[in-house]
Assembly symmetry: C2
Homo-oligomer: 246 residues x 2
Amino acid sequence: MSPEGLLPKGSKFTSITGDGMKIGVIGTGIVGRSHAAKLALLGHEVVMGTRNVETTLGVHERDMMGNPPLKEWLQGHPMVKLESFHEAALHGELIINATRGEHTLEALRNSGERNLEGKVIIDISNPLDFSEGALPSLLVANTDSLGEEIQRAFPNAKVVKTLNTINARLQVDPDALMSGDHDVFLSGNDAGAKQRVTEILRSYGWKNVVDLGDISTARGAEMMLPMWVRLMGVLQTPLFNFKIVR
Amino acid sequence: MSPEGLLPKGSKFTSITGDGMKIGVIGTGIVGRSHAAKLALLGHEVVMGTRNVETTLGVHERDMMGNPPLKEWLQGHPMVKLESFHEAALHGELIINATRGEHTLEALRNSGERNLEGKVIIDISNPLDFSEGALPSLLVANTDSLGEEIQRAFPNAKVVKTLNTINARLQVDPDALMSGDHDVFLSGNDAGAKQRVTEILRSYGWKNVVDLGDISTARGAEMMLPMWVRLMGVLQTPLFNFKIVR
């Protein structure tokens, strides 16, 4: 797909030289890369954060999912910079947590509590536990959630849980499926933060943004994952999503 | 709605004098009543089971949800009989578990293990825990499910988890929403049992029946409930469902 093809019609950010935001993306996996590429294309200044820049750039093999090493990916996305967690969080007016759930709290601590203070954190992570067999269970569920854990750990940040029920490619390109006629959920305590995140989601092409309520509603969104992984097995593709029919 | 309005087009069971099955419905709440009424209309011989027939018939007030007392309901549904759990299970070639999750295992034990042996149990229950605040959590989740607990407790029964992600009215009348263009999930270890349950679902009008796999996949279906209860709050109606878009 051409970069232009990634831009939804009516996008708020249509120029790569437009007045974008400074965004720090914590995590360099497929989720972090998808958002970094999309946000740079939409005109934002994106810095991706990793635990150790040298180590990350020293990887020369594709990962288990077949994704190219980050060094190669960065060559194809020259507008995205790679820095430490700390530098990426310092850079961002808005932070995206795209780490694996098991590493999230540590990665955000390494980003520096001061660098997160007062900022919106878009939390896309899922607390998946792969330690027991083929299908993951959740590390935290039912009476708590990773979204709530992050909010408790960083009380001065504004955590908005979203997009965790959706494949990385579809997260940033909802139109690729049924012209975007499917739903994304939103949980968070701060109305203004949810409004800003909704604007970013709309710039990605999302039409149906369902505000579930405060951050405790992240329990509902995270507990969709056991269904999601089973559906991926049944459908033999990760390119699906839930639509609320009413 | 007229009783005729409940019959989907092309239903396999269109005559109330047709060659239906003997079905035992365990539980007399709105879920049990919805299925008992629909199944009787479809030509099946339905016996509803309750813990204590006299006590149940002695109730003269509407319940918390505004449903009429069972005695009144039975007068409007003369083809449905009320018996003990034991008699209802003995009667049924096929059993429907329509009890509240917290009471399910006890109700099925009271139904008599021998009366369940070799039979298909359609399990619609959800292990909701209302003890902590307004929104329920789950009594069992993540690494186990109520569907699995039932299957372990009655290893000679064939448990099929289904319909638990859907409001009682829509369970038996999917066409009431978007001409039935939304999904119902199915979990169970026995392929033949799932086939029989699929036929019943189709006789209700269900078009999209998604077989998730063995009974452990009930974890996925039951863990949808935290999202379901929050969506009901957001949408201000229980008349919605999930559709998988791909």
